[in-house]
Symmetry: D2
Subunit: 306 residues, 4 copies
């Protein structure tokens, strides 16, 4: 069962579980892997640190934040943090770091290189930290030209990660992979977290479909192709970007006038309000975005933008 | 949005939320309605007391158990428990009862009568307890000939209940109804519990379908009709029942020889092993059971049973 | 440090921690020893099951109750429970038993014999359960004529226990002993539970005093001597007992008339109200009870009782 | 009972509870005042954010950190944070701010002025946040020349605060004050947190003593007088300070040579290691520090420092 996932990650005896939704998966896996007195290290912009309504703390664990560099943590700063922690005479009064949480791509669409992941892995091993990769949008990382890591390589580098289904076209479903071994009685922890699906065939059949004939990769690629076209549209019109994102999330900076002109005509999110009145916006393509959608946006920008 | 649910329960301004799975729904609703120092009263056979891997305790709340009478709590015993609690000088050292949890039908397929529900409601109001009804299989209660309560009447009698979708044919989904008012910021509590679906349209469209043209009721009826046929099959063959269940779950008691004879030919669960070697078994019909299925079972019993 | 405790329990390399109060100690030790998905088995009358305001559940763990036999669990029923648990096909949906909690003496003043403890230990080892003994009143067990177990023998038989100071004259303080090894980073778990005393010398000096020249044992003996005298007072006057308790808690059954006669003249607790109007009462002696106190009670009973 | 505390804070019907230890008190009060989905705002250097082994998260609540300005939060930054939070379209996916936590004095010995407290109070009321002041070292704030707030004024400005006993000479004990009303059934929450002392007279008699004849204030004053003398010792010798602290904690910056010279001769803590090799150290005076202690330190500095 689920052998197609094990095949895709290149580890025949990996443990695979199907959960439903990013926050649920993060909370369940992190709780299962940490000891009661341990916390999880994340970028201060990490999904678990900001946008999960405190689901990790609900499970009793602190999120220990490091500075975010376009969504990523810096391996040197990670090491420094750990050195400082263990050098502190009072560290037993502080939350023990028990895990590093990364998202790939990050919440800002950026990617860790294989070299960066390898360094973080080395540091994790040295300090006995679990390494967990949030792959809610993993397909959009793997499909990016800038990505130098593969699914099997990722599986070798971490203790747990998940292949998000919801963001690449599934109705719901995330495939959690424990490349080495699952936490003891993980099934019961899943149930305890209210994360056990009565009809596992719902995510099961979707993942089987995604991992048949490379569908997961091809539809992920579509999102990236469309994202690069979308990016060019803004670049061609001289609109600056907040971040040079190589994945499906793009962050053009729009002026107030530009946003008013686009009002009600295209759906995007306001990511951050800048002091000068402009806004960092987020445009996300997906498996379902068509070349026609992009053309339509081009026309819209031509017609509306001042 | 979801006005078809509000219409079905007869309360135009009820709050409705779609979650996914019984344990998740129980844990989220109970945690949202209880104060930190309160526990929830349930039958000792209640789903939250036995089969949720401690999801309620994971949220910090104790399940306070009362004796089970074929799956039901007895209103008199409830009142007695509350009187004893408040009469106890040390009751502030004990968990405060904050809610009554009922399942309808119960885990043994049995039903509370309207009169019983009304009495439990009165006691709940008197002792300032919330009343929450687990309706994972609610359709199979409402469709039973023995049920003297309607969806609108149920909504009047409790603070929260849910209409289970998963057990009546939905891929997933439970519709939580707060007839009066939802707990403050319930959305965030749902997210905190990892219970927020990114694509709410998945349960949404299923519930819309179920509540169009009475589908929810007609397919629930099918399960009951088939259950009564199934019941007769066993009765006709002189096989006793553990409980006289009026809903889709039936509990014939089989001897070892009978179970061996049926081995591998029909799927049922062993509910309880009796001291004399016989077993209480559980046969459950559903929205999908056909008259042909029942006929097939009849043939099987004829051929196999000694 | 605290070597006097290690000497008293006969295990030179035992780990010892000083906490403050029974509920705090139970909650901290149980949480430290259990995995997230595990619960703790206790008698339904056990302190953690009834009188700790849900402190164990606050830490996320379920208390799994067994019938109480005068406050004790029955080894056979324990084994039966475990056999039934593992035989149940759905046991992964239930809370995993991870520990047995006993109190010595129990909440009803009764004692486990060495043989009973040994059997419970064997079952615990067989089913990979930790064995934890709540010794809030341990001195009053050890000092009883009916007790056939010593402190060193107790230490050999369990994974953790504590020597209560508060109930034998200390202002506060319980000495937790891990005979084999302490849970990893237990110090941090203690801090996390708010159980770390800034001035550890407060319980430290009290325990040092208690374990100098056998004070702990001699003042415990005083309580037992006085309790036996007290017991005789009631027996001589034909007053029945709820339980034949060999320790410092005695449970005479008083009629309404008797209670009215004693009203305001002696302090005791009402333990349970019997259907016939009589009450089980609790009279507790302590390290501080004098022979004169008992004589005074004798006079009081003579004067007042009908 | 405890009317001497109510008198000292100038609120005759304030609710007062005696707990034991700062972390325990913080965790219990914060949990009692917050709703399940709420977090507590604190300076990133706040005790609850750093040095409590995650006790707040153990109770399920996130600590939401603001920049620390010598241990204090800035009222403008607080308001900005709240405005940004409520302006964020996704704020229901984030932890709701439910409380402001301040320490007085802060972990860096600094003080909020009455005006600052008033502003924070106004912002708290505007955004429906509880205001809780950690007064583990409150005596050392009130006794400082730089402090323009009194105990009664503090009581008017917040929803809860505590008067630390442990740090001003008590063996243990913190007096929690709810000037308006205590959280419902706070007693049970205290018990649930393992924070209920069996012998409440232990902190009770100590606080009664502290609040008789102004002892609490006079011994706090002693610590401040000694701290100012100690400060002068370092100033006179040209040793710089990390912070200009007006309370009992002083933070001289010592070079490696200076620390080596003092090695083993005086007890202090290393607070922070500076990039240039020097260390921020912490010297704390207390109720028990004598003028002779300071003179001894003066001699030591003369003899040892290069």
């Amino acid at each position: 069962m689920l052998s197609f996932i094990r095949a895709a990650v290149g580890i025949p005896n990996a443990s695979v579980f199907l959960l439903c939704g990013g926050t649920q998966t993060n909370a369940t896996v992190i709780d299962a892997l940490l000891k009661g007195y341990e916390g999880v290290i994340a970028a201060e912009t990490g999904h678990i640190a900001v946008h999960e309504s405190g689901a990790i703390e609900f499970g009793g664990h602190k999120v220990l934040t490091l500075p975010s560099h376009n969504g990523k943590i810096d391996p040197d700063e990670l090491r420094e943090y750990l050195e400082r922690y263990y050098a502190d005479d009072a560290h037993e009064h502080m939350v023990w770091p028990g895990m590093v949480y990364l998202s790939l791509p990050t919440e800002y669409g950026t990617l860790y290189s294989e070299k960066e992941l390898q360094r973080i892995r080395e540091i994790s091993l040295e300090y006995k930290l679990k390494l967990f990769v949030d792959g809610a949008r993993l397909g959009y990382a793997l499909a990016s030209d800038s990505c130098d890591i593969t699914l099997p390589r990722l599986a070798q580098l971490c203790d747990a990660f998940y292949i998000g289904g919801t963001k690449v076209g599934a109705l719901c479903g995330e495939a959690v992979v424990f490349p080495k071994e699952a936490p003891e009685h993980f099934f019961s922890t899943v149930k305890q977290h209210g994360a056990l699906l009565a009809k596992g065939r719902l995510p099961g059949i979707q993942f089987e479909t995604l991992f048949t004939d490379g569908l997961y990769f091809s539809i992920s690629c579509n999102a990236i192709l469309r994202a690069m076209e979308l990016k060019k549209l803004f670049e061609d019109r001289g609109i600056p970007f907040y971040i040079d994102s190589p994945t499906n999330q793009q962050f053009p900076i729009l002026s107030k006038a530009q946003m008013e002109a686009l009002e009600g005509k295209v759906l995007y999110e306001i990511w951050e309000r800048l002091p000068d009145g402009r806004c960092v916006t987020r445009f996300a393509t997906s498996w379902a975005t068509t070349p026609e959608d992009i053309e339509e946006l081009a026309g819209l920008l031509d017609r509306c933008l001042p």
